[in-house]
Subunit: 189 residues, 2 copies
């Protein structure tokens, strides 16, 4: 298990804030998330602003990065690390080179490095990245919002070769739209 | 889409009442559900008695049947149909031949037949059976209880080739144990 302290400092915590379908997909097979639009546009407060204000860095996979890149404007102000073995820093658009970097480090090494840089709280985003951080014991909290739609197929939030892991349920809230948001914490390891 | 009326009678409704892990598994790969024991023993009221009193027949897959058969006593008083292509009525233990039958009919034909027999409300149980009824548009209500445990792998509640289907969220309730129970209804088709 990954130690919780890195060079004497508490290792940066891993936080997940993600929406998925009732059947556990975070996007269609083609990466589409337009089925989430009605929720984004609902005016309901899912706590994203509060969440994003609570973290000081973001780690995401390549697909999540490419999705963010397709938005009209880059949606993050925080430093971002894109985990990828194939992508290089050269692949970043010039306007992002100050705030985005690419890393092929494994989760434990990446968290150690970010902890040494003084980061405390990381937003871990993207199915595969979440799964690999989960396997490494580096996810401390998950806020999962389930929307009342079965996608039938897609990119799963949880894979089929994850760790067996007890979580602690902190709270669940449901919204008039039918979105159900649950917060879980890793149990003490 | 399967018609909602059969020979002038309202077709029997399909109801799901199931527990799954946070990552959507209803059993381990080997079919184990011992990780649910703490919830069964918690004294918390998940509404199973009320649910089972609301249905008048049960349709389950072979694995669910075999699991039930492994219990100290057969747990159902209602008529049960086991859907299987390989199993025969001869395979049933003699003491179950009055209350259990085996069918290889497809979901629509099976529901038509049960409707003609006067059944109104069916408990649909088992991952594959739920998925095939879902694909056939024969699930009208789902009560899903998620326990705060990631299994990592196992028998999925929802497969990866299901239909895309909007559901209506009716209510969600969470329990001190961390189990979160949500009730969904099929939207009008």
């Amino acid at each position: 298990m990954t130690p919780n302290r890195v060079w004497g400092a508490e290792r940066a915590r891993g936080h997940v804030f993600i929406a998925c379908s009732l059947d556990g997909y975070i996007a269609t097979q083609g990466g589409e998330i337009d089925w989430l639009n009605t929720y984004a546009a609902s005016g309901e407060e899912y706590g994203y602003e509060e969440f994003i204000a609570s973290v000081d860095g973001i780690v995401m996979g390549r697909r999540t990065y490419e999705k963010a890149l397709s938005f009209p404007a880059w949606p993050y102000e925080l430093p971002v690390v894109v985990t990828s073995r194939s992508m290089k820093s050269n692949d970043l658009p010039i306007e992002l080179t100050d705030s985005v970097e690419v890393s092929d480090a494994d989760p434990a090494d990446l968290v150690s490095a970010l902890t040494e840089r003084g980061l405390h709280s990381l937003y871990i985003d993207g199915g595969q990245v979440i799964q690999s951080f989960m396997r490494a014991g580096l996810i401390d909290e998950m806020i999962v919002s389930r929307v009342p739609l079965l996608l039938g197929a897609g990119i799963p939030l949880f894979g089929s070769d994850g760790p067996r892991l007890e979580m602690e349920h902190v709270a669940t809230k449901s919204f008039p739209s039918g979105l159900v948001q649950s917060r879980y914490r890793a149990t003490t390891r």
